[in-house]
């Protein structure tokens, strides 16, 4: 799994009623965007160093078009 700064990260809830968690990748520490990533969670605005699990989905923002 690869990411770069600015990518959005989504962790799906695993139980009924558990909310999805969203964050933004601030920095990728591994080679070529590999984990660990510094992630800022949107719900708490807290930054953590994070190795994603297989439930993580990375969304690459689309470049703006004119």
């Amino acid at each position: 799994m690869r990411a770069r700064a600015g990518d959005r990260l989504m962790i799906k809830g695993h139980h009924v009623g558990e909310a999805e968690r969203h964050g933004v990748v601030v920095e990728a520490r591994g080679a070529d965007g590999a984990p660990p990533w510094v992630v800022r969670w949107e719900d708490s605005d807290h930054e953590v160093l994070f190795f994603p699990g297989p439930d993580a989905i990375v969304e690459h923002p689309q470049p703006a078009t004119s």
């Binding site: 520490r29 590999a34 984990p35 807290h46 994070f50 190795f51 297989p54 439930d55």
Partner: protein, 148 residues
Amino acid sequence: MRVRDAIRKNPQMLPSSATVGDAARLMDEAGVGAVIVADEGVPVGIVTDRDLVLRALAREVPPDARLDAVMSLGVVCIDADRDLHDAVLLFSTYPFRRLPVVAGHVVIGMITVDDLLVDLIGDLANVTRGLTAQVLFGHAEPRPPVPA
């Protein structure tokens, strides 16, 4: 104090294809309460002794079940060069007691709430050493000499 200076044990790792029984045996042999689940060296989850009890034993999951059936997905870590107070902040923010320590992109150790408590108690013993003498061997102040 830096986080790397508080590490007491090497990280224990198993691939996600390992079994629940493998994790229990590794915890027993290494004297740890958590195993990092890593595929090709990259952590993808963590399993604790509590996970083995609640997610495996209590649900009658067999010991030969894959570890990824009971692990917690994703691993929150801390950089080895961060101040130890940052680890305390993480422990107060998240509901876990163990925190893998990363140097660069490699997990080099694990710190636990128990480790921090042991250090804290040691510090308290040092701080209170002077008080201990007063409490255990209290004595009256010497009286000033009486003029003749």
